[in-house]
Symmetry: C2
């Protein structure tokens, strides 16, 4: 079995680079956990396919996936059309990307999501991506470290990137029905069409920045003790993650609607989740501080 697709030479290069990025991420995260990621190759009828690398039941990561895909398809997702008015929508597209989600076992270690992607269709191309952090018992220094690392990486390419993509992230990862942000944000960009070589370098640099941003937080927090209360709160908050991904996430909805591989797309869902009717944290508790102090969007990179 082998992945086969049709793309431009540049598209093929992106696909090769992203596959290598997937391996680098799995090597680093597998070493961090002490458990190697498994690997599944899957093929898509319309062309292409992917490599699903997953881990479950590790000491650090209760569930994690680093998913790579390179596919041909049609028609284009609506969101892609909205931002590329020159396309008719009937074009066959080529898309390649890496999508990562980690659900740590400890409530002290934040859930994290990272994604970079490249599309080409009808003679045009665009990149998308981002990463965001979803803590349960956040620490100020972790939020600051995460955002500063992202900002430093963005600034090497364009000082306008971080403020723009940070604001887009706050807008995007928002649960309207709860009037609540998903986490403490990060960066998000949907349609980046700057110089393609430079943008490819940027999304690969984001892959490295992700490890710099997340790994130290996981290392600092993984040994902190917790009990049933913290675990229950983590399982409860994970419900918000499910709600966001199934109600709002464009990648998830587009993937499922376009007949994508459900198991690869839904690997983002947490391993154990709880829903309780109308539960509210006690005022002043750490659980209440999450929503009151940490979730409202703020300029973490400039905070002290």
């Amino acid at each position: 079995m082998e992945l086969r697709w049709s793309a431009t030479d540049f598209g093929n290069r992106v696909a090769t680079e992203l596959r290598a990025l997937q391996e680098r991420l799995c090597d680093a995260l597998g070493a961090l956990d002490g458990t190697p990621f498994g690997s599944d190759l899957w093929l898509r009828e319309q062309g292409g396919g992917g490599v699903a690398r997953t881990l479950a039941g590790g000491p650090l990561f209760e569930k994690g996936g680093v998913m790579y895909s390179a596919i041909n398809g049609a028609p284009l997702p609506e969101v892609a059309l909205r931002e590329n008015p020159e396309l008719s929508g009937r074009e066959t597209y080529f898309a390649t990307g890496v999508s990562l989600i980690l659900h740590p076992r400890s409530p002290h270690v934040p859930t994290v999501h990272f994604n970079v992607r490249y599309f080409e269709a009808g003679g045009t191309f665009w990149f998308g991506g981002g990463m965001d952090l979803t803590p349960y018992y956040p620490r100020r220094e972790d939020c600051i470290h995460f955002h500063r690392t992202l900002k430093a990486c963005c600034d090497r390419f364009d000082p306008a990137y971080y403020p723009r993509f940070k604001a887009a992230c706050d807008r995007y990862f928002y649960l309207r029905h709860r009037r609540e942000p998903r986490g403490i944000g990060g960066i998000f960009f949907n349609t980046l069409k700057d110089d393609r070589e430079r943008t490819l370098a940027y999304i690969l640099a984001l892959g490295a920045a992700f490890l710099e941003a997340y790994v130290p937080i996981a290392e600092r927090r993984r040994g902190e003790p917790y009990g049933e209360r913290e675990r229950a709160f983590q399982c409860y908050r994970r419900g918000r993650y499910v709600e966001f991904n199934l109600l709002y996430d464009q990648g998830t909805l587009f993937g499922l609607q376009s007949g994508g591989r459900a198991e690869s797309i839904l690997v983002s869902l947490p391993p154990q989740v709880e829903w309780r009717y109308d539960w509210r944290p006690e005022p002043g508790s750490p659980e209440e501080r999450l929503t009151r102090e940490f979730l409202p969007p703020q300029d973490w990179a400039a905070a002290e």
Copy 2:
């Protein structure tokens, strides 16, 4: 605090009857569990509100809700417009309904959903509703009993109802991304505009039929022993329930989009849920028989 809304005299009667139905259901189910349902009154800015009656941590029901609402709102849900082409969509509507979901603790007792609703807008009205059963370790006799009870109730009003609404239920409770039905079906109807007095009698009869259909199954199965394997499978399958409700369920999506009370709407989500990457039951196991033997739509009422 008091619920206030604007409706026709008939609409007010439906609202009163459905509130009484909510109480009858809670009385019967609370007695079955041995735990009384709690009660929350909530008001909606645009008019009306509801009574949320919920139970959690009971010996039989791990989580359950019987939700009543009577509200004014605008604009009408798109699905309502599609089926009522005479409306402009700008009309203020009145809607009242009872929606029930029970998540039993034991994997041997099926999850069940029941809903009846009434809408009026711009001089027209329609009823909707249904109920469906989602077992984990189903028994043929339970599936047959459930469907026969529904059919007997439907047949008292119109022999065309059961076959039509059973087929609609099979179409509606379907997870396209999994190519899998949610459960073993039941009945579902979206826009019933037959004689209004008779239809009101029909939906109240469905409330009684629900208890006849479900209570004996819960009583027969609640004492059956189970272990970690069965519990894990139940938690895993509950993931499908979440996926259906957040990806497809029109009531859930309309409720959340129209600014409904999130906690009332999402009371349908199970208390504990698990997602595992690409898990498959062993061929020939009871877990595999669920999807192979029981989930494919079949004529349960005529089965032996």
